[in-house]
């Protein structure tokens, strides 16, 4: 079997267009609280989600929108949920970090690390009640430092659970660079638990698809859990309003909010030596520069796939995008209803 790039691009494009609408509606203040988007992770989600079957389960983190959209959850009800409406996916009770679709065996959590045990439980039920099905746990590289995840990896191995651990590594644990937060090599770490492991470029959806095919086959046929390490970026940082990204995008606003307290910290009496204070300032500055890597178009999975499809059949691509745009526009219009216009 080989991947269908049109199908994969369609999944990614729909998720992207939907999250762009979410971003706009969040900025308009119609969604409260935090908003963690999966823009930049779509290649990982699509490469895996496109190969799931009925009965497969999803343990999702706080970035659950792309997998749920790709699994077929009604986009309007998802948006209504984000807006806290009684006809949202969870009656407005959960919000974007606590999304539940019992018919699809999909559950999300806002607690970093919890997807490990959650995935293991889904996989145990799969093993005992639905042989041949699997559970997927999605998490970031920051989560690999959580005990719950490492415990779950060990449990999944000793119980030979049909489970796929998917690490979406964007190199930032919230706003801490991964090289100062994650020890060792994650592939080696997973292998040390006794798991078969793959490393893949998450911006290359076809590569993700191929690795996932092997990984899923391994897990479905009773050979135990597997680990997929996929590299990606977060085009909107950790969440909307990400402080580091804001420093590059809205420098004046950020200066008042963040840089000014730092400047004061530089000169207040008592504390570290002037040299160490300057080192702190330099560290923040270098992180601000480094975070721009997150918005790299080279690492955007949609851009890369789109280039390939545009060469193959530009007319078909235009039509596909137009169809999806219309679909998303319509579902946003339905969700907003009397709340206001859609654009």
């Amino acid at each position: 079997m080989s991947p269908d790039p049109w199908k994969l691009y369609g999944l990614m494009y729909k998720s992207r267009k939907f999250e762009e609408a979410v971003r706009r509606i969040w900025k308009e203040g119609k969604i409260s609280g935090e908003m963690h988007l999966g823009m930049g992770e779509e290649g990982i989600a699509a490469g895996i989600l496109s190969q799931l079957v009925e009965g497969d389960a999803l343990a999702l983190d706080h970035r659950g929108t792309p997998p749920l959209i790709m699994r077929g959850v009604d986009a309007s009800s998802l948006l209504r949920e984000f807006m806290g409406k009684p006809d949202g996916l969870c009656g407005g009770m959960g919000g974007h970090m606590h999304l539940f679709a019992p018919d699809l065996l999909a559950a999300s959590s806002g607690i970093v690390g919890a997807v490990g045990p959650a995935g293991a439980g889904f996989a145990l039920a799969a093993q005992m009640l639905r042989p041949g099905t699997v559970a997927i746990a999605f998490f970031g590289e920051g989560t690999t430092s959580a005990g719950m995840l490492m415990e779950a990896m060990n449990l999944a191995v000793v119980w030979k659970l049909p489970m796929v651990f998917v690490c979406k590594d964007n190199d930032w644990s919230i706003s801490t660079p991964a090289d100062t937060a994650v020890g060792g090599n994650l592939l080696a770490r997973a292998q040390a638990f006794g798991m078969k492991a793959w490393e893949v470029d998450g911006a290359d959806v076809l590569a993700v698809w191929s690795a996932a095919q092997e990984a899923l086959q391994h897990a479905r046929t009773g050979n135990g859990p597997v680990f997929l390490w996929a590299h990606c970026v977060h085009l909107e940082g950790h969440f909307l309003g990400d402080g580091l990204l804001d420093m590059t995008r809205r420098p004046m606003y950020s200066f008042r909010k963040r840089a000014w307290p730092m400047m004061r910290g530089l000169f207040r009496r008592g504390g570290a030596s002037p040299g160490e204070r300057m080192a702190s300032m330099r560290q923040i500055a270098s992180q601000v520069i480094a975070i721009q890597n997150q918005t790299s178009r080279q690492k955007d999975p949609l851009v890369r796939t789109r280039q390939v499809l545009a060469r193959k059949d530009p007319g078909r691509l235009t039509q596909l995008e137009a169809d999806i745009q219309l679909e998303v526009r319509q579902c946003v219009a339905v969700a907003l209803g009397s709340e206001g216009r859609e654009s």
């Binding site: 009656g91 045990p117 005992m128 005990g147 719950m148 060990n154």
Partner: protein, 339 residues
Amino acid sequence: MKTMSFSDAIDDALGQAMAGDARIILMGEDVQGMHGGLFVRFGRGRVRNTPISEAAFLGAAVTASMAGLRPVAEIMLVDFMAVAVDALLNHAAKLETFSGGSWQAPVVVRTTCGGGYGDGGQHEQSLWGWLAHIPGLSVVVPSTPADAGGLMLAALELGSPVVFMEHKLISSVWLDFLGTGGRDTVAYDIPAEGTRGMVPDAWEPIPIGKAILRRKGSDITIASLGVGVHRALEAAALLEGKGISTGVLDLRSVSPLDKEALCEQVAHTQRLLVVDEDYEGFGLSGELAAVALEAGLSFKYGRVCTQTTIPYARDLEDETLPNVRRIVEASEQLILHPV
């Protein structure tokens, strides 16, 4: 009717349920050894030893219950819940609300609690108030073999998360495992009525959230749970000799709390003494006072609880946990106050 130990009653009721429902599994550390009868009867697929990974297997039990199984996850000692509480606090307890009522987690968390055998404050806590504080969890604390089996059956049938707590002092299997260790050279103050008692021939569920009046009294109501019930009954017998008529209300569950039964007894005696092996501050004892006050009752109030970290030394431990002497003294103090 027949007699059975507290430990056997729980496994017997669980076994009855497992025989009738293939979805029920038992998982936890050393469960194949600790519950050997169930292991042999149902096999290693349904009675599963886990790694020493409470966070992993408790979390897994929650989603396994969401995906069609009926797991009973055993946390060996409730003290160890500390490393796994996320599964209950942030997941099992919140699922029904967060999902808009569309998903439930029918998981039973079986755990031991309580002290009086010299293990110290990392292995002897009660913590039922800490758990019952979380909306969305039921917390059951039986005091007799008949209640233990009946409440286990009810927990399995409830359809939402239940923490089922076995007090180690009345659970002979656990007491031998942790306190006695096969020796006849140690002795603990074990309430006989809790350890062994009459049970039905076939188990029937006992509704969770219904207190039971273990002893009628007209001067004071003592409300308690678990081993505290037996301490209170012993104290009530001594108080009777002093002319004080003491009722003993066994709450049987912390959450849901039988507010009606509590208020009925408090209204009757106008004196409430709470005997709670859990910590005194911010817990069950204060909650019972609040419930009775909210009901508009006027009454005299006292409590005998655990106030500090439970020390290891046996004599200090006995003074730290609610004992009969402290209950009698506190009751006499309450009687000094006219109502």
